[in-house]
Symmetry: C2
Subunit: 156 residues, 2 copies
């Protein structure tokens, strides 16, 4: 769950505890409510990491991305954040998810926002629970997303 | 110039003060000396920012990337780093270069390593001159590159 992330000319939906398939089921609703929006940015995945089903997670992401693309909107994937509280096992899993997403998004020409290096080993960007971002962390995530949105609207 | 960046199964060439076109002229030499290398990662651009010729810089990057691709090797672009010593003008220029590179690499399906968020406002990753990376900065850059190399060799 990511709070306090605001971007110009955008609306943020926050779904506490949502997993990838939960976000997918909400896509039609989002599209219906925002018919003129040109792009949907998704930031999800950390809640799925705990479930240890990496093949299902890849399949869920594939479905989510294809569902968004089928609406005719641009899909932008905001990459996973290595939480300060992750165990070695969880860290390894999120790194694998990141690597897979980079490759998949590249092949599908879906813009991918790389958050890995920005948050890696930076405890000061997380809330006390080490899991959620604090204001500084949310601000950095917003900055990464804004830069990506700008980059993908840059003239040739 | 980036020193102290070492990656497994890779060789690092460091060309002090090099600009994009200087790197391009060295491509044939690199390819000749490393016939079995599968990919060339380029990290260059900061030295060009001072020259204030953004259209020439885009043209030089286009030539560099196409020169590498023409050799049959994979080309990976390591994105620009916002130095701690940049003026507002230089920062704005490097941000524009970043945005343009993200778009160009995406269209050409050239893997792009996003270093922007990792180094933004992190004085502690730079040497005293605020321009070159220190050991911690070089280590983070190596980690970003390693993750990207891993990601682009990840099975589907």
């Amino acid at each position: 769950m990511v709070r306090h992330v605001t971007l110009p000319r955008s609306e943020t939906w926050c779904l506490p505890g949502a997993r990838v398939e939960d976000v997918q089921t909400r896509v039609p609703e989002v599209v219906e409510q925002h018919p003129t929006a040109s792009a949907i940015v998704v930031h999800v995945g950390s809640n799925d990491i705990r479930l240890q089903q990496s093949e299902k997670l890849k399949s869920d992401f594939t479905s989510l991305i294809q569902t968004i693309l089928a609406t005719g909107k641009k899909c932008i994937v905001s990459g996973p954040i290595p939480s300060a509280c992750f165990s070695d096992m969880q860290f390894s899993r999120i790194r694998q998810l990141h690597a897979w997403l980079v490759g998949y998004c590249s092949r599908e020409r879906v813009p991918f926002v790389d958050n890995f290096g920005s948050f890696w080993r930076r405890r000061s960007l997380f809330a006390r629970d080490g899991r959620h971002l604090n204001r500084a962390g949310a601000s950095l995530l917003a900055s990464n997303l804004e830069l990506a949105l700008e980059a993908h609207h840059t003239p040739r």
